[in-house]
Protein backbone atom coordinates (compact mmCIF):
# COMPACT_ATOMS: atom_id res chain seq x y z
CA UNK A 1 0.00 0.00 0.00
CA UNK A 2 2.82 2.34 0.99
CA UNK A 3 4.79 1.46 -2.14
CA UNK A 4 1.76 2.13 -4.30
CA UNK A 5 1.41 5.55 -2.74
CA UNK A 6 5.05 6.35 -3.37
CA UNK A 7 4.87 5.17 -6.98
CA UNK A 8 1.72 7.12 -7.63
CA UNK A 9 3.52 10.32 -6.70
CA UNK A 10 4.29 11.92 -10.03
CA UNK A 11 7.63 13.47 -9.18
CA UNK A 12 8.94 10.30 -7.56
CA UNK A 13 7.76 8.30 -10.54
CA UNK A 14 9.40 10.72 -12.95
CA UNK A 15 12.66 10.69 -10.99
CA UNK A 16 12.68 6.89 -10.96
CA UNK A 17 12.03 6.75 -14.68
CA UNK A 18 14.70 9.40 -15.32
CA UNK A 19 17.29 7.41 -13.40
CA UNK A 20 16.45 4.13 -15.13
CA UNK A 21 16.40 5.97 -18.49
CA UNK A 22 19.89 7.33 -17.86
CA UNK A 23 21.06 3.87 -16.89
CA UNK A 24 19.60 2.21 -20.00
CA UNK A 25 20.84 4.99 -22.31
CA UNK A 26 24.37 4.86 -20.86
CA UNK A 27 24.54 1.06 -21.03
CA UNK A 28 23.23 1.07 -24.62
CA UNK A 29 25.70 3.77 -25.69
CA UNK A 30 28.58 1.87 -24.04
CA UNK A 31 27.50 -1.30 -25.83
CA UNK A 32 27.31 0.52 -29.16
CA UNK A 33 30.73 2.07 -28.57
CA UNK A 34 32.16 -1.39 -27.86
CA UNK A 35 30.51 -2.75 -31.01
CA UNK A 36 31.70 0.21 -33.07
CA UNK A 37 35.33 -0.52 -32.20
CA UNK A 38 34.92 -4.24 -32.96
CA UNK A 39 32.83 -3.63 -36.04
CA UNK A 40 35.22 -1.09 -37.52
CA UNK A 41 38.07 -3.56 -37.38
CA UNK A 42 35.93 -6.19 -39.06
CA UNK A 43 34.58 -3.82 -41.67
CA UNK A 44 38.00 -2.44 -42.57
CA UNK A 45 39.27 -5.95 -43.20
CA UNK A 46 36.37 -6.62 -45.56
CA UNK A 47 36.29 -3.36 -47.49
CA UNK A 48 38.11 -5.22 -50.23
CA UNK A 49 36.17 -8.10 -51.67
CA UNK A 50 37.36 -10.81 -54.00
CA UNK A 51 34.88 -11.51 -56.79
CA UNK A 52 34.65 -14.23 -59.39
CA UNK A 53 35.76 -13.15 -62.84
CA UNK A 54 34.50 -14.33 -66.23
CA UNK A 55 37.15 -17.13 -66.39
CA UNK A 56 36.54 -18.38 -62.85
CA UNK A 57 35.36 -21.82 -63.99
CA UNK A 58 38.45 -22.63 -66.09
CA UNK A 59 40.85 -21.27 -63.45
CA UNK A 60 39.02 -22.99 -60.57
CA UNK A 61 38.68 -19.79 -58.58
CA UNK A 62 37.66 -20.26 -54.96
CA UNK A 63 37.11 -17.33 -52.60
CA UNK A 64 37.28 -17.60 -48.82
CA UNK A 65 37.34 -14.26 -47.03
CA UNK A 66 40.59 -12.44 -47.74
CA UNK A 67 42.05 -15.34 -49.74
CA UNK A 68 41.41 -16.12 -53.39
CA UNK A 69 42.63 -19.52 -54.56
CA UNK A 70 43.09 -20.43 -58.21
CA UNK A 71 43.12 -24.22 -58.12
CA UNK A 72 43.26 -25.39 -61.75
CA UNK A 73 45.76 -23.16 -63.51
CA UNK A 74 46.69 -25.48 -66.36
CA UNK A 75 48.76 -24.89 -69.47
CA UNK A 76 50.36 -26.58 -72.46
CA UNK A 77 54.01 -27.80 -72.27
CA UNK A 78 56.50 -25.20 -73.48
CA UNK A 79 53.67 -22.77 -74.01
CA UNK A 80 51.82 -19.88 -72.52
CA UNK A 81 48.29 -19.82 -71.20
CA UNK A 82 46.52 -16.56 -70.39
CA UNK A 83 43.50 -16.38 -68.08
CA UNK A 84 42.07 -12.96 -68.85
CA UNK A 85 39.64 -12.61 -65.96
CA UNK A 86 39.69 -15.41 -63.37
CA UNK A 87 39.32 -13.22 -60.28
CA UNK A 88 38.52 -9.61 -59.45
CA UNK A 89 39.01 -7.34 -56.46
CA UNK A 90 36.40 -4.75 -55.51
CA UNK A 91 36.69 -1.84 -53.09
CA UNK A 92 33.28 -1.69 -51.42
CA UNK A 93 34.38 0.54 -48.55
CA UNK A 94 33.69 4.23 -48.01
CA UNK A 95 36.83 5.63 -49.62
CA UNK A 96 40.01 4.69 -51.45
CA UNK A 97 41.88 1.80 -49.84
CA UNK A 98 45.62 1.21 -49.72
CA UNK A 99 46.35 -2.48 -49.43
CA UNK A 100 49.10 -5.06 -49.71
CA UNK A 101 48.83 -7.89 -52.20
CA UNK A 102 50.45 -10.96 -50.68
CA UNK A 103 51.54 -14.04 -52.60
CA UNK A 104 50.61 -16.52 -49.93
CA UNK A 105 51.43 -19.93 -51.39
CA UNK A 106 52.32 -21.44 -54.76
CA UNK A 107 52.01 -25.22 -54.78
CA UNK A 108 51.47 -28.14 -57.17
CA UNK A 109 53.73 -29.00 -60.13
CA UNK A 110 55.89 -25.92 -59.72
CA UNK A 111 59.00 -27.79 -60.91
CA UNK A 112 57.67 -27.62 -64.45
CA UNK A 113 56.51 -24.05 -64.08
CA UNK A 114 58.49 -21.35 -65.85
CA UNK A 115 56.66 -18.25 -64.67
CA UNK A 116 53.35 -16.85 -63.45
CA UNK A 117 52.75 -13.17 -64.06
CA UNK A 118 49.63 -11.37 -62.87
CA UNK A 119 48.64 -8.10 -64.52
CA UNK A 120 46.18 -5.86 -62.77
CA UNK A 121 43.72 -3.81 -64.82
CA UNK A 122 40.95 -1.49 -63.71
CA UNK A 123 37.52 -2.55 -65.00
CA UNK A 124 36.27 1.00 -64.44
CA UNK A 125 38.90 2.82 -66.48
CA UNK A 126 40.44 -0.17 -68.37
CA UNK A 127 43.83 1.22 -67.30
CA UNK A 128 46.79 -1.04 -66.58
CA UNK A 129 47.66 -0.91 -62.86
CA UNK A 130 50.50 -3.22 -61.87
CA UNK A 131 52.60 -6.21 -62.86
CA UNK A 132 52.92 -8.86 -60.15
CA UNK A 133 55.43 -11.70 -60.51
CA UNK A 134 53.94 -14.65 -58.64
CA UNK A 135 56.49 -17.25 -59.75
CA UNK A 136 59.73 -16.89 -61.67
CA UNK A 137 63.07 -18.69 -61.79
CA UNK A 138 61.87 -21.46 -59.53
CA UNK A 139 60.91 -19.14 -56.69
CA UNK A 140 57.91 -17.27 -55.39
CA UNK A 141 57.76 -13.59 -56.27
CA UNK A 142 57.69 -10.77 -53.77
CA UNK A 143 54.59 -9.18 -52.19
CA UNK A 144 53.27 -5.90 -53.55
CA UNK A 145 52.58 -3.36 -50.81
CA UNK A 146 50.72 -0.05 -50.93
CA UNK A 147 48.43 -0.58 -53.90
CA UNK A 148 45.77 2.12 -54.02
CA UNK A 149 42.29 1.14 -55.23
CA UNK A 150 39.69 3.94 -55.51
CA UNK A 151 36.22 3.65 -54.02
CA UNK A 152 33.86 1.23 -55.84
CA UNK A 153 36.54 0.32 -58.35
CA UNK A 154 36.99 -3.25 -59.52
CA UNK A 155 40.36 -4.58 -60.61
CA UNK A 156 40.71 -7.53 -62.95
CA UNK A 157 43.59 -9.92 -62.39
CA UNK A 158 44.96 -11.29 -65.68
CA UNK A 159 47.12 -14.37 -65.28
CA UNK A 160 49.86 -15.37 -67.72
CA UNK A 161 51.29 -18.83 -67.10
CA UNK A 162 54.35 -20.18 -68.88
CA UNK A 163 55.18 -23.86 -68.61
CA UNK A 164 58.55 -25.51 -69.26
CA UNK A 165 58.99 -28.04 -72.05
CA UNK A 166 59.20 -30.77 -69.41
CA UNK A 167 55.63 -30.09 -68.33
CA UNK A 168 52.96 -32.64 -69.08
CA UNK A 169 49.34 -31.99 -69.90
CA UNK A 170 48.13 -33.04 -66.45
CA UNK A 171 50.37 -30.53 -64.62
CA UNK A 172 48.67 -27.81 -62.62
CA UNK A 173 49.50 -25.37 -59.84
CA UNK A 174 47.53 -23.81 -57.02
CA UNK A 175 48.13 -20.17 -56.12
CA UNK A 176 46.75 -18.39 -53.04
CA UNK A 177 46.66 -14.60 -53.13
CA UNK A 178 45.79 -12.57 -50.04
CA UNK A 179 44.92 -8.94 -49.51
CA UNK A 180 45.92 -7.13 -46.35
CA UNK A 181 44.71 -3.67 -45.36
CA UNK A 182 47.34 -2.06 -43.10
CA UNK A 183 45.94 -0.64 -39.84
Amino acid sequence: MELKKILSNRSTKFLTLLLTSMLIATASAAMYNYMFMNGTIGVEGMTLEWQLGADNATAGTQIAGVTASLTTLKGPPNGTRVYTDPVRLKNKGSGAVIFDLLIDTVSGNTVNMSSIIVRLYSLNTTAYIENVTVWSGGAKGSDHPNLNIPLNHIWRFEWEIKWKSTAVISDSVIVNLKVRVPA
Binding site: A25, S28, F36, T40, S94
Partner: protein, 167 residues
Protein backbone atom coordinates in the same frame (compact mmCIF):
# COMPACT_ATOMS: atom_id res chain seq x y z
CA UNK B 1 39.11 6.63 -43.88
CA UNK B 2 35.98 8.26 -42.46
CA UNK B 3 34.32 6.08 -39.79
CA UNK B 4 30.88 4.86 -40.77
CA UNK B 5 27.95 4.31 -38.47
CA UNK B 6 26.97 0.74 -37.71
CA UNK B 7 23.41 -0.49 -38.34
CA UNK B 8 23.04 -0.85 -34.55
CA UNK B 9 23.03 2.95 -34.34
CA UNK B 10 19.34 2.75 -35.27
CA UNK B 11 18.67 0.53 -32.27
CA UNK B 12 20.47 3.06 -30.08
CA UNK B 13 18.33 5.83 -31.57
CA UNK B 14 15.16 3.75 -31.10
CA UNK B 15 16.09 3.01 -27.48
CA UNK B 16 16.56 6.72 -26.78
CA UNK B 17 13.22 7.49 -28.42
CA UNK B 18 11.47 4.93 -26.22
CA UNK B 19 13.11 6.49 -23.15
CA UNK B 20 11.97 9.92 -24.31
CA UNK B 21 8.44 8.58 -24.73
CA UNK B 22 8.58 7.04 -21.28
CA UNK B 23 9.49 10.37 -19.66
CA UNK B 24 7.00 12.40 -21.68
CA UNK B 25 4.11 10.00 -21.02
CA UNK B 26 5.03 10.14 -17.34
CA UNK B 27 4.76 13.94 -17.42
CA UNK B 28 1.39 13.65 -19.19
CA UNK B 29 0.24 10.72 -17.07
CA UNK B 30 -3.33 11.97 -16.67
CA UNK B 31 -3.81 11.48 -20.43
CA UNK B 32 -2.37 7.97 -20.65
CA UNK B 33 -2.71 4.64 -18.85
CA UNK B 34 -0.55 4.57 -15.72
CA UNK B 35 1.52 1.64 -16.94
CA UNK B 36 2.49 3.22 -20.29
CA UNK B 37 5.79 4.86 -19.15
CA UNK B 38 6.90 1.48 -17.79
CA UNK B 39 5.91 -0.24 -21.03
CA UNK B 40 8.18 2.19 -22.92
CA UNK B 41 10.98 1.52 -20.44
CA UNK B 42 10.61 -2.21 -21.10
CA UNK B 43 10.72 -1.48 -24.86
CA UNK B 44 13.98 0.45 -24.29
CA UNK B 45 15.41 -2.48 -22.31
CA UNK B 46 14.46 -4.73 -25.24
CA UNK B 47 16.53 -2.39 -27.43
CA UNK B 48 19.49 -2.89 -25.11
CA UNK B 49 19.00 -6.66 -25.37
CA UNK B 50 18.86 -6.21 -29.13
CA UNK B 51 22.30 -4.55 -29.01
CA UNK B 52 23.68 -7.39 -26.88
CA UNK B 53 22.43 -10.02 -29.34
CA UNK B 54 23.89 -8.02 -32.24
CA UNK B 55 27.23 -7.82 -30.45
CA UNK B 56 27.38 -11.57 -29.87
CA UNK B 57 26.44 -12.42 -33.46
CA UNK B 58 28.27 -9.54 -35.16
CA UNK B 59 30.39 -11.87 -37.29
CA UNK B 60 27.52 -14.20 -38.21
CA UNK B 61 24.77 -11.75 -39.16
CA UNK B 62 25.39 -9.96 -42.43
CA UNK B 63 25.25 -6.17 -42.57
CA UNK B 64 22.09 -6.33 -44.69
CA UNK B 65 20.23 -8.38 -42.09
CA UNK B 66 21.57 -6.27 -39.23
CA UNK B 67 20.40 -3.09 -40.94
CA UNK B 68 16.85 -4.33 -41.47
CA UNK B 69 16.20 -5.65 -37.97
CA UNK B 70 17.74 -2.50 -36.44
CA UNK B 71 15.75 -0.28 -38.78
CA UNK B 72 12.58 -2.19 -37.86
CA UNK B 73 13.13 -1.42 -34.17
CA UNK B 74 13.59 2.28 -34.95
CA UNK B 75 10.46 2.16 -37.06
CA UNK B 76 8.47 0.72 -34.13
CA UNK B 77 9.67 3.59 -31.92
CA UNK B 78 8.66 6.15 -34.57
CA UNK B 79 5.26 4.50 -35.03
CA UNK B 80 4.68 4.84 -31.27
CA UNK B 81 5.50 8.56 -31.45
CA UNK B 82 3.11 9.07 -34.36
CA UNK B 83 0.44 6.95 -32.65
CA UNK B 84 0.56 9.17 -29.55
CA UNK B 85 0.29 12.20 -31.82
CA UNK B 86 -2.76 10.71 -33.52
CA UNK B 87 -4.25 9.83 -30.12
CA UNK B 88 -3.92 13.46 -29.00
CA UNK B 89 -5.50 14.70 -32.20
CA UNK B 90 -8.34 12.21 -32.56
CA UNK B 91 -9.50 10.43 -29.44
CA UNK B 92 -8.51 13.16 -26.95
CA UNK B 93 -9.13 16.12 -29.27
CA UNK B 94 -6.29 18.02 -27.64
CA UNK B 95 -5.37 20.08 -30.70
CA UNK B 96 -2.82 22.35 -29.05
CA UNK B 97 -1.07 19.40 -27.47
CA UNK B 98 -1.20 17.46 -30.75
CA UNK B 99 0.35 20.38 -32.63
CA UNK B 100 2.99 20.90 -29.95
CA UNK B 101 3.80 17.17 -29.99
CA UNK B 102 4.01 17.16 -33.80
CA UNK B 103 6.32 20.15 -33.82
CA UNK B 104 8.61 19.19 -30.95
CA UNK B 105 8.64 15.38 -31.02
CA UNK B 106 7.17 13.77 -34.16
CA UNK B 107 8.65 15.98 -36.85
CA UNK B 108 12.19 16.32 -35.38
CA UNK B 109 12.51 12.59 -34.61
CA UNK B 110 11.32 11.60 -38.09
CA UNK B 111 13.69 14.09 -39.73
CA UNK B 112 16.62 12.94 -37.57
CA UNK B 113 15.84 9.31 -38.41
CA UNK B 114 15.56 10.04 -42.15
CA UNK B 115 18.85 11.94 -42.01
CA UNK B 116 20.76 9.12 -40.32
CA UNK B 117 19.24 6.37 -42.44
CA UNK B 118 19.98 8.21 -45.70
CA UNK B 119 23.47 9.05 -44.42
CA UNK B 120 24.04 5.38 -43.58
CA UNK B 121 22.80 4.40 -47.04
CA UNK B 122 25.11 6.90 -48.73
CA UNK B 123 28.22 5.99 -46.72
CA UNK B 124 27.65 2.24 -46.99
CA UNK B 125 26.96 2.53 -50.74
CA UNK B 126 23.68 0.69 -50.13
CA UNK B 127 21.20 0.28 -52.94
CA UNK B 128 18.26 1.93 -51.17
CA UNK B 129 19.28 5.61 -50.64
CA UNK B 130 17.49 6.98 -53.72
CA UNK B 131 14.18 5.31 -52.86
CA UNK B 132 14.58 6.20 -49.21
CA UNK B 133 15.32 9.80 -50.06
CA UNK B 134 12.22 10.00 -52.20
CA UNK B 135 10.05 8.39 -49.52
CA UNK B 136 11.58 10.67 -46.90
CA UNK B 137 10.95 13.73 -49.01
CA UNK B 138 7.35 12.70 -49.68
CA UNK B 139 6.72 12.14 -45.95
CA UNK B 140 8.37 15.47 -45.11
CA UNK B 141 6.39 17.29 -47.81
CA UNK B 142 3.08 15.76 -46.64
CA UNK B 143 3.83 16.59 -43.00
CA UNK B 144 4.84 20.16 -43.79
CA UNK B 145 1.77 20.60 -45.98
CA UNK B 146 -0.64 19.28 -43.35
CA UNK B 147 1.07 21.23 -40.58
CA UNK B 148 0.97 24.45 -42.61
CA UNK B 149 -2.71 23.94 -43.42
CA UNK B 150 -3.62 23.33 -39.78
CA UNK B 151 -1.42 26.22 -38.63
CA UNK B 152 -2.95 28.73 -41.06
CA UNK B 153 -6.55 27.67 -40.43
CA UNK B 154 -6.88 25.83 -37.11
CA UNK B 155 -10.60 25.20 -37.61
CA UNK B 156 -10.04 23.13 -40.78
CA UNK B 157 -10.10 19.78 -38.96
CA UNK B 158 -13.32 20.42 -36.96
CA UNK B 159 -14.90 21.64 -40.21
CA UNK B 160 -13.88 18.47 -42.02
CA UNK B 161 -15.18 16.34 -39.17
CA UNK B 162 -18.50 18.19 -39.10
CA UNK B 163 -18.77 17.71 -42.87
CA UNK B 164 -18.43 13.95 -42.42
CA UNK B 165 -21.02 13.91 -39.65
CA UNK B 166 -23.54 15.78 -41.86
CA UNK B 167 -23.10 13.19 -44.61
Amino acid sequence: MAPTILPEFFVLLGTDLFLLLSLLTCLLEDRFPKALPYVFQVAAVIGFGHLMISKEFLAIFGEYMRFWYCFFYLLVALINIVAINVRFATSQKAWILAKAWAGTVTFPTIMISVFFVSNYGYVSSAEFPLLLLQVGLVIAAVMIGVSAAIFLSPDILPKLRRGKEVK
